[in-house]
């Protein structure tokens, strides 16, 4: 339920109504705006109706939130959320470019790659210390040692860190080392993890599941916000379809669609979305033209020797060239790098 207060409502109206909502066992929300004060109430619809808030003298209007997701909905918050990740804004006019290797392999590999992407204009560093692998015999990441390397390289170069967490047991120490916690596609509906990460006090990048509908994706974001975390970044990374030519089918329809439904920023990962280095530049530009707030791109100092995802990682020189093209397309749609 969204409650809009009258302009002339007494100054203590918001506080009074929020208490009333809370006393009824519902979740109260306060959204002071420039022109109007808007309150929210989440919970059992029947209890909400019994409060009869539309009869309150301070209330101008009451309307239900039609979407199954509430906190993430544009119905509840009309303006865009801008998430601050270690000093870098995601969601405003300036596009965020998160780049780096699939995995932390060694301090040298990470540092060299990170320095290259920074020089080319990337503003955040990505790399995995915990890697989800289809086979139990694959390289699963360096874990805590990898986190240390990430932190050191990030600090040295002044790049905020985005890295994946896969287990509730690891949330605390990943949150200590990273500026932004990533929930991977395979864990988008790992609800225990969503709750733990939602409570960890760090911005979160939430990848869309391989076969998650947009509604399921936004409900996963709702888990994070309902656990107390307003700093959620959505990441489209390709869905699973019948087409075998590409690793996944990057669903760019989702970008303008989701931006209509939610106030949260949306970034696009063309590396996983295509699985093929040659397609990454074109799809990066397409994502920006479609309205994405940022990109997440795999780059490796030498993709031919990458321990994982080599086929979809750009060479540093390709990334540098791509950044120039991104700048041009961004300008054409009223954004900037």
């Amino acid at each position: 339920m969204i409650i809009v207060l009258k302009p002339e409502a007494p100054a203590d109206s918001a506080e009074r109504l929020l208490r009333k909502i809370e006393d009824a066992g519902l979740k109260p929300l306060h959204m002071p705006g420039a022109e109007r004060v808007v309150l929210g109430a989440l919970g059992d619809e029947r209890v909400l109706a019994e409060l009869a808030l539309d009869g309150d003298p301070a209330v101008e209007s009451v309307k239900p939130i039609l979407a199954p997701y509430k906190l993430v909905s544009r119905e509840l918050q009309a303006h865009d959320t801008v998430v601050d990740v270690g000093g870098v804004s995601i969601g405003g006019d300036r596009l965020a470019v998160i780049a780096g290797p699939c995995a932390v392999e060694s301090p040298e590999q990470l540092h060299e790659t990170a320095a290259a992407v920074k020089a080319a204009g990337a503003t955040l560093l990505r790399a995995g210390a915990y890697k989800p692998r289809t086979s139990p015999y694959g390289f699963a990441g360096h874990g805590i040692e990898g986190l240390k390397v990430l932190r050191e390289v990030g600090d040295d170069l002044g790049l905020p860190i985005v890295t994946e967490v896969m287990d509730t047991a690891d949330v605390a120490h990943v949150a200590e080392a990273a500026d932004c916690l990533q929930i991977g596609a395979r864990n988008m509906q790992n609800y225990a993890l969503l709750r733990a990460v939602g409570a960890a006090g760090r911005p979160v990048l939430l990848k869309r599941g391989l076969s998650a509908t947009i509604q399921e994706w936004l409900l996963a974001a709702e888990y994070l916000m309902a656990a107390g975390n307003p700093n959620v970044i959505l990441c489209e990374r390709g869905i699973r379809t019948f087409e075998p030519a590409t690793r996944n089918t990057l669903d760019l329809n989702a970008v303008p669609y989701v931006k209509g439904k939610t106030h949260l920023p949306v970034v696009v990962d063309p590396s996983h979305g295509t699985g093929a280095r040659d397609l990454v530049p074109a799809m990066s530009l397409a994502a920006v033209a479609a309205g994405a707030d940022g990109l997440m791109i795999e780059v490796h100092r030498d993709p031919s020797r990458a321990w994982s995802d080599g086929a979809q990682s750009l060479y540093p020189a390709q990334f540098e060239q791509l950044m120039g093209s991104i700048g041009a397309v961004a300008a054409a749609v009223g954004r900037q790098l």
Copy 2:
């Protein structure tokens, strides 16, 4: 098989070898280039091997075409095909914009809409006289009367016509009225139709089937070329996936992928690719950024009264505004309207 002749080969070598290929029951192809003469031979691989063309003194090299499609393959023709549709080029630096209503409803409706899209910068007119409808009780188009209206409006405004043909029995009169024949998504593997349209002497716009792999799509194009038609335009229009939020999932990955595999031009239809008017502008820009050679967009003078596809048709004013944005993104990727 691709046969490259030596620079110093006698002038009659090509003719001699083509005759040899034909005499063996194979299909000969002649592709004179600026620097080298290239021949092709299609058919039974064992017969090809017996010809031992690599031993011929005029031949520099012989290599197989690895893809299952041959004539459409970039292996056989490295440079881009540019298709001329009634004087408008599709496939070069200049983007083609094909716009118009879903169906011919009345002379006035078509003329008013066509005049509006022309004024906004569209260079070709689309509208259906034969409409594939999921239900037998839906409006299936005005048929021959619709074709007449299309021709008159096209002539009056100087816009070449693109329209769908659905039955081998209709190919002759659609080819008479239209500048370009469209094969719809549902008929992409209607092989009798592909053969008939391939022989009709008109350029063809081949839509990708709802669940066609890219390889199947290129093989459908191969049917058209094998029937003698070199003027084939591919059209990505969204694929069927599990996602219910949009009518289809526009597969923009396919644009750079297909342009790597074939020399044929690729246009994108964001109207069917999304099914939602609000998503068409963003996805039009994304398609251009991804490298499409053109767009096919549904516009209606009054979408709220359209007999079909109203929800995905732009208002003329929206289309006009979109054309401005398309021009900006086109320029950013080195193309123009």
Copy 3:
């Protein structure tokens, strides 16, 4: 609209009302039952409403047909349709088994295979004279010569023939040679073909399209019935999904679901539904247990030499063994071979 007459309605009521429906420009349907006379009226809902049939003294009740398909709906006809194909019933207690090779290759190949499947208990013969092939360079069938061979072998062995037609131009001569015309998966939404086959006066076997929803499939059947053909057999043959292990995903959910929605018989094709010989027996039994009215199975005298679909064709000895198992499962679910 379904109109149920009162038991005591005068004898000429049906005739009178049907004339009234027809005069209003609607399609009248007559369905005399053992206990009640039921009429149908198809067409513009507003015209139907104006007739005010529920006020007629002979009418007990009037209710709309909710499904988008009408003639195929169980709402309109509650009892099962049984289709007679050359003297063999499809849709009753006895399961129909349609078997034979993918294509007519030679008179000997067809005769030997047909004799084997008949000896094992198959009651109808399948084989293609017109073959839809993904590549224009594949074997596309012997055409009219193939039809002659089919007719001769069918007559010789007393097996009714089921064979595919792909082009409106071929409908007349396929209808002359075959007892049942098959619409293939790729042509399920080839509406010109549906209309032509619907008017051809032969039973039709309608395969589900590769990515057709059940509703689209039933609407394709509606095309056939609306064109005047009440003898429609539905055939589930696998849908396209993300799973690469099998050629298609046989959707057996569709069997009980469709049988709840329509009165038409449903057969299952486990050969295309799996694409793998080893899986055909298990899925044949599963189809029978799920309630299918019959099976369509590819058998070849020597699958290792089949010109097409060899990997999914059974050896005659395997088919014979399978028929024994089918009989046992059929009996367990109250059916018989």
Copy 4:
């Protein structure tokens, strides 16, 4: 690598070779058979090659395991695994029927439903204490209290318990209360959970992910076995496709396919596989006919009042009737209840 010893090899050969494998840093496996001793070695292929085991006098043959999964593969173990869950065998001639409500709602609800399914012939009890819910506002299960109720009801009725675990932090106490731990579809690639459950010393029922390929599913099972758990039961529960008529598409092709690739037992969940009560009986029979080793069926004492999954839960009387039909089909394919 699979190493088959010669029949005449000295008695200590297996031990000697296993030590050699282990000393090289590889994982040794011992599979004594009735006729031959077979050893396995998993790990780096190059190290394996260096051991040159095929030159050892006790070794008859050495062959690689071609599949990416090893321990679960039939290449490594030809005979079927039979898993003992609280005294009930899953994987042998006798079909296992796991039945019960979606969730533990109250002691009475669980006891009444459990008593009903037991009376009808079910041999194991299912019900969730931890429920994955798409929305954070849905009922997520009673947790530890629910586990207690489950244990009590199971003990009272003599039914082993199968219940889901969703978080590594809960594995210990779920393993204490339940006879078999279920990994749900959404967690099939939650690798931290797979490792923890693999080490918990309880049989595991591993549901196939919504869009997991069969290979990914078997690799998830490999995680469990690689963590030391040989008692893995696979559960097909429907995949996500484009078809909206049913909640999921039950992929019965997977049953015979998977049983060809692995020695592990496979059960089928037609409740989630269809999402519709009316389709559950037909698909239960189809699953048995396809070769499933068991069924997992949702039953509720009053589905109209179920807190979750009511639409797909059977009434106790329906379940009782279904059990009779299952027995008949089981007998037809050489199995029994």
